[in-house]
């Protein structure tokens, strides 16, 4: 099992729809400061429900919609991210999250597995079956290494509690 493709629509600095095919093994993402590398990992966290807005460096969820969208004055703007996993050579498993924000700033966020709507808890149960856990350090963000060093001993022990 591996991530076969990421598809971002109006997510942070990615305007329009960007499709990124991925292969198994070791892939590096590189590029200048501020070009959108960390945003790509935020898209992964967003779609799989692995972090809140703070963990994606946004004050509120609506800040995740590409700014040029919000500036156009549409009554509803939307951002969407789809993660496609290859379970084996023939079978795919797709997770999609969609965030719709009205002009007044209210929003709705919905998840879907293979285009069937589901709740975050149902998604987490299915992810757990594939050994993908929110506290399993699947995604190590910029600054996580430093926070392990500076957190107190009790907080460090609690990391093992959660995995036990």
């Amino acid at each position: 099992m591996y991530i076969k493709q990421l598809e971002l629509t109006n997510f942070k600095s990615f305007g329009g729809t960007t499709v990124i095919p991925l292969l198994p093994g070791f892939t590096v993402i590189s590029g200048p400061n501020g070009s959108g590398k960390s945003n790509l990992l935020d898209a992964l966290l967003f779609a799989l429900g692995l972090a809140g807005s703070k963990g994606m460096r946004a004050e509120r969820l609506p800040d995740l919609v590409n700014h040029s969208q919000t500036r156009r004055g549409h009554s509803v703007v939307e951002t969407r991210v789809t993660v496609t996993f290859a379970l084996d050579v023939e079978t795919e498993w797709r997770v999609t999250r969609r965030l719709r924000v009205t002009k007044q700033g209210t929003y709705t966020s919905t998840y879907a597995v293979n285009d069937q709507p589901c709740t975050l808890n149902e998604l987490h149960d299915q992810l757990q079956a594939f050994c993908i856990y929110p506290q399993g350090y699947n995604v190590v963000l910029q600054g996580d290494v430093t926070s392990i060093i500076s957190m107190n001993a009790k907080a460090r022990r609690e990391i093992i509690d959660e995995l036990a």
Partner: protein, 153 residues
């Protein structure tokens, strides 16, 4: 509860010792503040990089600390293996030789799981099977370039 913590702790500790020895060629272990009742205390990472006396995280150098923290993260991942991992510039504190060592470890692990690694360091970029470039021209959106999917290893 004690039982399952104990089991997790022993496994992660064993992982930590092997991984720390590979990454920094020294000895390290996890130390509980109160081993009889783990929940009454915390957890310390104790390590001595090659040829130095045992030391706690606080008195290590920036690079030594980050290799110790990285070994702990790898040790947790090995206890509950997952199909993919994503790292964001975890090599920024390391000197060239340590970046190479970390890259070699990721190369080995990437035979069992998918690794997506954001990095600005040349030894890491060179060790990968492929590179995805991103860029953002003045005022434009992020563009994904150079999707060289032909593996060069």
């Amino acid at each position: 509860r004690h039982q399952s913590f104990r089991e997790a702790f022993d496994a992660v500790n064993a992982n930590f010792q092997t991984i720390f020895a590979t990454l920094s060629d020294g000895d390290g272990y996890l130390q509980l503040e109160s081993p009889e009742d783990p929940f009454a205390g915390g957890l310390n990472l104790v390590a001595h990089p090659k040829g130095k006396p045992v030391q706690r995280l606080a008195s290590m150098s920036g690079g030594e600390k980050s290799l110790t923290a990285l070994s702990f993260i790898f040790a947790l991942q090995r206890y509950r293996p997952s199909p993919f991992y994503a790292f964001d510039e975890v090599d920024m504190f390391l000197d060239g030789a340590n970046v190479e060592r970390l890259a070699k470890m990721i190369q080995q692990q990437s035979q069992e799981a998918q690794f997506i690694v954001v990095s600005l360091r040349r030894p890491m970029i060179e060790a990968a099977q492929r590179t995805i470039g991103v860029t953002q021209a003045r005022g434009q959106h992020t563009q994904v370039i150079g999707l060289d999917l032909t593996a060069h290893h």
